[in-house]
Amino acid sequence: MVTMNSDKSAGRRRMEESGNQTTAQGSGSQSSQGHGQGGGMGALRPPSVRVAMGFGGGVPSVAEAALAAAEAATPAAGHRPTLLQAKEDNPNAGVYKKMEAIIERMQDENTGVPVKTVKSLMAKIPSVFTGADLIQWTMKNLDIDDISEALHLGHLMASHGYLFPIDDHVLTVKNDNTFYRFQTPFFWPSNMWEPENTDYAVYLCKRTMQNKTRLELADYEAENLARLQKMFSRKWEFIFMQAEAQSKVDKRRDKLERKVLDSQERAFWDVHRPVPGCVNTTEINIKKICSNSTKLMTMPAATPAQLISRQIQMLKQRLDRRNIKLSKVAESYISYFEQYQEYDPFLTPTEVQNPWLSDSAEFWDYEKQVKDVSARRVKRWAFSLKELLADPAGREHFGKFLDKEFSGENLKFWEAVQAMKTLPQAEVADETKRMWEEFLGPDAGIPINVDGKSFEATKKNVEENPDRWAYDEAAAHVFHLMKTDSYSRYLRSDMYKDFLSGSKKKTSVKGIRSIVSFSGRKEAGAT
C-alpha cells in the first residue's frame, strides 16, 4: 500500500523543481530577451514538463523553438513581475497563510488526515482521503463543535483549491465517502498564479489527447476550447505542439503518479477557470489590489512632518481664497441650465432628428455644415463669445462682421494662437517668430492692438521662452477686446439680427418653444 508519504515527497520534489526552474528561467531570460518578455506562456507549465522541453538543459529543441516563437507572438505579460513582488501585498495573503498552516497540519504523517491508496474494482486510487475523515479531523483538531461549521471551513479551503474532490469539477466538501486529495504546494493560490488563456488552451488541448474515456472534457470545457481555438487561430499550431510535448512527458510517468498529477492540474484549472456558476476565488478587482500594494510601498517615502507641513502650506493658501456664496453658485447653475436646456437632448428634442431615435444619419452632416444654420444654433451664439467661436458657422460669420469693422486681425490673431497649441513641438519656435513678425513686430503685416503690459510680457516670452503659450497673455487681451467691444456690437448689429431672422424662416421654433416651456421656472404664484 502506498501511503501519503510517497505523494508528499513527490509534492516536495515538485516544489524544489519549481525553485530550480525559476532560476533556470531567470538565467535564460538574460541570454535571450525574447523568453524573458514572454513569461506569459512559459511561466505556467508544471515544472517537470518544462525540463522536458529543454528549458533546464539548455539544449534547444524543435518544441522550444516553436515555443519561443509563440511567446514572441504572445502579448508581453509585463505585469507578472510586479504581481510576484506584490505577493505579500495581495489582499488574500493573510487568508492564504492561515489556510496553508491548517493544510500543513492536515498533511502531518502521524496526526494529520489519514491518506490512503484505495483499491477499487480494477484500479488503484492513490493518495486520497474521504470527506468524512476530513470533517472528523477538523472537528477534533480545530476546536469546532458544529458539523456545518466544519463543512463550511472545508468548503472554503476547497474553493481556494487547497484540497479537491478527485472526480468532480465543483470544488466543495461533503461529509461522506467521496474521495479528496491535497493540492501540491506548487499550485497553491498563494503563488499568485495569473494563468493566461494560452496556458489554458494548452491544458485543454492536452486533455483531448489523453485517454478519451477517462478524461473526457466537460461540456463547458469543450466550449472554452472551441472559443480559445477561434481566438488563437493563428497560434493554434504552437499551442497544439506544446500540448503534444506535455502529453508525451506525462505518458512516460508512473501510472499512479500520473493520476495524481492529472487530478492536481485539473483542480488548479477548476480554481482559475471555474465551472460556470462557481465563484472564482482568485479574481480580485485589480484596480484595488494595485492601489493597496502601491500604497504600502510608497507611503513611507515622506516623513509625516513633511507631509503635514506641505498640507498646512496648501490650506493656508486656501484660506486666502475668496469664495462665492452657495446661493449665488446655485443661481449660476440654474441660469446655466436654463440657457442650455434647449440644447440638452435629454430635455429638448434635437431639431435635426436624433440619430439614435430615428435611424437617420442626417445629424452628423448637419453639425459640420456652415450653410442653412437653424435659429436655435444662431441663438446660441449670443450666449457668449466662446459659444460663437466654437461653432464653425458662427466663427465665419463673426469674421465677416469684423472685416467690415476693420478689426478682423483680432480674430485672426486669436485663431493663430489657438492653432499654435496643436502644432508639432518642432514648429513652435518658428511659428512664434513668424507670428511676432506678422502681428506684433515693428513692421507687422497685420498689426494688432494690445495694451502695453501684455505687449511687454509677450515680448519677453518670445525672446526668452518661445513656447506654445508665449502669446497667451496677448491672446487673452485680444479676446477680452473682442468680447467687450466687437462682440456686443456684433450681437446688436443688423448683420446678426438678419442672420437670426433669416434662419428662423427655415425652421419652426414654435414646436421647440412649446416643449421647452415645461421646465422653466414655476409660476411666481405657485411658490
Binding site: 505585469h79 494595485c290 507641513s309 462665492i324 446655485a330 435629454f346 440619430p355 439614435w356 453639425e367
Partner: protein, 347 residues
C-alpha cells in the same frame, strides 16, 4: 496614525487641525443655504427616458474603460481580452480592432480630433495608437510608448493631438509632449493612486480623483495644485467636469456621488442611491448640467437631477458591474462599459 509623534510633528498636526477647522468655518460662512433649497424654484425635471440603443458585443472579457471621440459618434473601449475596439456607436459596427501588447488595460482615451487613441494599464506604460495609420500586420500603428511609470496607468486624457496627461498608480500626474516624445513634467499629485481625470471644457484646467479620497484641480501649464476638495470617505473613482467649467461631479466607492463647486470651494450637493448600497465607478454630466449619471457596481447607471438633488431613475441592462461611462460631447448618447463583456449605448 502612528501612536506617538515627536513634539514637532504633534505641533504641526495641531496646526493642521486648526487650519482645517478654520476652513470648515469659512465654508460654512459661504454655505448660506443648501443647494436643494436654492433650487427649489426650478420646475421638476422630466424623467429621463433612455434605453439601450445598441448593445456592442465583441469583447470576450471584462471591458474596463470606454471613451467617446470628439465627433460624438465613435467610441473606443478597452478590455481585459487585450483588445481595443473602436466602435461606430450609431451603427454598432466595429471600425477597428487593435490588439494590445498587454491585456491589462485599465484606461483608454480618444483624442478630441479622433485621430489617436491612448491606452494603458498594468503594463505600467501608456501606448498611443494612430487610428489612421496601419502597421505591417494591419493593426493600428503605435506612435508612442510612454514609459517610466512606477505604478499602473489609471487614467489618460488628450488635451489635443500632441499633448497627453496621465495619472498613475504611483500617485503621479505626467504631462507628455507626443510630438517630441518627451515628458513635459511629472509630479506627485496625490497621497494615493490617481484614479481618474477630467479636462475642463476649455482644456486649461483639469481635475483628478484619487484613492486618497480627495479631488484636486490643476492648471495644464503648471505643477501647482489650484484647489483641493475633500468630503468623500472612500476612493474617488471618477471625476467629471460640469459643462460650465465651474464645477465637477464625482463618483466614489463610499456609495455617494457629489457635486463640487470651484467658486465656492466646496461640495454643494451629495447624491445617494435609493438603496444606499451601490458604489460608483464612473460618472458623467448631461450637456446642460441638469443630470448626473453614475455607473455603479450594482449593474446599473443611476441618474439624478443635479439641481433638486433627486433620484431621477436608473438604466438597467448590464449583467455585471459597470466600469466606465462616457457621454458624447453633444450630450446625445451615453456609452457604458461593463464586466459583462459588453458596451451599451444609451440614447
Amino acid at each position: 496614525m502612528p501612536p506617538k509623534d515627536d513634539p514637532e510633528t504633534a505641533k504641526l498636526r495641531k496646526e493642521l487641525e486648526d487650519l482645517m477647522n478654520k476652513i470648515k468655518d469659512e465654508q460654512k460662512k459661504v454655505a448660506d443655504t443648501t443647494f436643494a433649497d436654492a433650487c427649489a424654484s426650478v420646475a421638476d425635471a422630466p424623467k429621463v427616458r433612455m434605453i439601450t440603443r445598441k448593445n456592442l458585443k465583441g469583447h470576450i472579457n471584462k471591458v474596463n474603460s470606454v471613451h467617446y471621440s470628439g465627433d460624438n459618434r465613435h467610441a473606443v473601449s478597452g478590455s481585459l481580452d487585450g483588445k481595443l475596439i473602436i466602435w461606430d456607436t450609431w451603427t454598432g459596427n466595429k471600425i477597428q480592432v487593435i490588439p494590445l501588447r498587454s491585456s491589462w488595460v485599465m484606461s483608454v482615451a480618444f483624442s478630441p480630433s479622433g485621430n489617436f487613441v491612448a491606452c494603458g494599464g498594468m503594463d505600467n506604460m501608456c501606448t498611443v495608437y494612430d487610428v489612421n495609420n496601419r502597421d505591417a500586420t494591419g493593426a493600428a500603428k503605435i506612435t508612442r510608448e510612454l514609459m517610466g511609470y512606477e505604478g499602473f496607468l489609471s487614467s489618460c486624457r488628450f488635451v489635443d493631438d500632441n499633448h497627453l496627461i496621465t495619472g498613475s498608480g504611483d500617485m503621479k500626474i505626467t504631462h507628455w509632449d507626443l510630438e517630441k516624445n518627451a515628458k513635459i513634467m511629472d509630479f506627485e499629485g496625490h497621497n494615493g493612486d490617481v484614479v481618474s481625470m477630467s479636462l475642463a471644457p476649455d482644456s486649461n484646467t483639469y481635475v483628478t480623483g484619487s484613492v486618497d479620497q480627495s479631488c484636486k484641480l490643476w492648471d495644464t501649464r503648471s505643477k501647482d495644485c489650484k484647489q483641493v476638495f475633500f468630503g468623500h470617505t472612500a476612493d474617488v473613482n471618477c471625476v467629471c467636469f460640469h459643462p460650465s467649467g465651474q464645477a465637477f461631479g464625482t463618483g466614489s466607492e463610499d456609495k455617494t456621488a457629489r457635486l463640487y463647486d470651484l467658486r465656492s470651494d466646496q461640495q454643494v450637493a451629495q447624491y445617494a442611491p435609493p438603496n444606499g448600497n451601490s458604489g460608483f465607478t464612473s460618472c458623467a454630466l448631461s450637456s446642460s448640467g441638469r443630470f448626473i449619471m453614475c455607473g455603479s457596481d450594482d449593474n446599473s447607471v443611476h441618474i439624478w437631477d443635479t439641481l433638486k438633488v433627486q433620484h431621477n431613475g436608473q438604466l438597467t441592462g448590464h449583467e455585471n458591474r459597470i466600469t466606465s461611462i462616457s457621454m458624447s460631447q453633444n450630450g446625445m448618447a451615453l456609452c457604458s462599459a461593463s464586466w459583462d463583456n459588453n458596451v451599451r449605448v444609451w440614447g
